[in-house]
Amino acid sequence: MIEELGTTTEGDLVINIGPQHPSTHGVLHLVVTLSGETIKNVEPHLGYIHRSIEKMCESLSYRQFIYVTSRMDYLSSHINNHGCALCVEKGMQIEVPPRAQVIRVLMGELTRLASHQLWWGAMAMDLGALTPFFHAFREREAINEIMEETCGARLTMNYMVPGGVMADLHPNFVTKVKAFIQLFRSKIDEYDELVTGNIIFQNRMKGVGRLTREDAISWGCTGPTARGSGVSCDIRKLYPYEVYAQLKFDEVLEYDGDCFSRYLVRLAEMRQSLSIVEQLIDNIPEGDFQAKTKAVLKLPKGEFYSRVETARGEFGVYIVSEGATTPYRIKFRSPGFSNLSALNHMARGHKIGDLVAIMGTLDLVIPDIDR
């Protein structure tokens, strides 16, 4: 049954963490009930960046609403756009050419790498280690430059359109990505040396924030949060889309369920993403980068759901269409929303420093939660 929500007794302290706080995950307001330094209850207050995106999308056309999802989970903006484009293509039965599929997967994996790099730097910064932040951003700039040449923007690029991608790859793309792969292989080992083996870091992360397998499923967690507890939920493996079915990569699972396992899952995912990019970069097929579609898209009457694996978990796009040029209702199933709801369960009984470690490994991006 449902646990009793932590009741406040005399002598308890109720403090606010946020909405403006230096961990830069966004604007998250936590009301924490403490007894001494031990946490009794954590209550997230959301809505400080609720930009009414779902209502806004009801008046945008099917080509236009894709830019908005870039701004939701801005660290995996390509993958979000990909999910939206897949949903529209499912509704209109559009066939995406092979070149466009490979380009989409490449961009998605590079974005996943960039997102995990920033996660690693920001999480270490939250725990007090400032140096990894600068290392992470130095490598992230390399990916941003590659994106900027092809897509035109560094962070929120609407490069995916229903039917393919918006423009062809820049001529320098292949050489730059190959140079990046060489650079990053050695850097990942550097990350391991800097942080993973550090005894202080391990003491802060091991045994903290345990999430059992049944709880992870019940709370709806997806992505590395759930894979750290042994739940196999990688959409790229279970319901493959684009060319993922033909690629060789592992789904990384750890079974301890604490912060350190989630950390190890993400580091290993960085290596897997790098290997996917390596497999694809020499084999980009020639052809069209965009399928021929009508200028004005109209989805037939019905409901369509498509899902992709972002850096945070399963991102679902649910479109209900009445046959018009704008959707009747769009629902974005964001991964952070469910991951955050498990925070109270994980943080009870720990200290405040552990709360910061748990939030760091959940990898929350608040605009994704608030939509």
């Binding site: 049954m1 449902i2 809505g47 609720h50 779902e54 709806g220 209702r329 929303f337 709801s341």
Partner: protein, 151 residues
């Protein structure tokens, strides 16, 4: 299980279940009064074992509201969509947050944006909007001339 086997199993277990056609997954329509019992059985029957609720939302069809639940099973990997029709003037339904813990936040969101009351929810209050906000923003008849600038 494939879609056909699942449909077979559902028709056996739930008398009076109605199915909607079209769409890639089985879609079952349930009455609001029987929803909680149905949900409990979907979770506990070992041949169905829907332990993962991955999407909970509501659609405003101008004459009525429809709640939409998307389930899947981590063991069998089959999917199910359950729809419940609600009266627009007094929309209320039983909560399922003791069966699937993820429903707590999702139901608060639906309450905040559509005004659907969930019976026996432990903590039903607004999630995204301020506590004093009037109106249910995502309903189709929501007017807000102060804040919304129409294109």
């Amino acid at each position: 299980m494939t879609n056909e086997e699942l449909k077979q199993s559902l028709t056996e277990n739930f008398s009076g279940a109605q199915f909607e056609e079209g769409g890639e997954w089985i879609c079952m329509a349930v009455e609001a009064a029987q929803f909680r019992e149905t949900a409990g059985r979907l979770r506990s029957f070992s041949s169905l074992d829907f332990d993962y609720l991955f999407c909970l939302t509501c659609i405003d069809w101008k004459t009525h509201l429809t709640m939409v639940y998307h389930f899947t099973s981590t063991k069998y990997r089959h999917m199910l969509v359950v729809k419940v029709k609600l009266d627009r003037n007094v929309p209320s339904i039983d909560t399922v947050c003791d069966i699937w813990r993820t429903a707590e936040f999702h139901e608060r969101e639906v309450y905040d944006l559509f005004g659907v009351k969930f019976n026996n929810h432990p903590d039903l209050r607004r999630l995204f909007m301020t506590d004093e906000w009037n109106g249910w923003p995502l309903r189709k008849d929501y007017e807000d001339p102060v804040n919304m600038i129409k294109l």
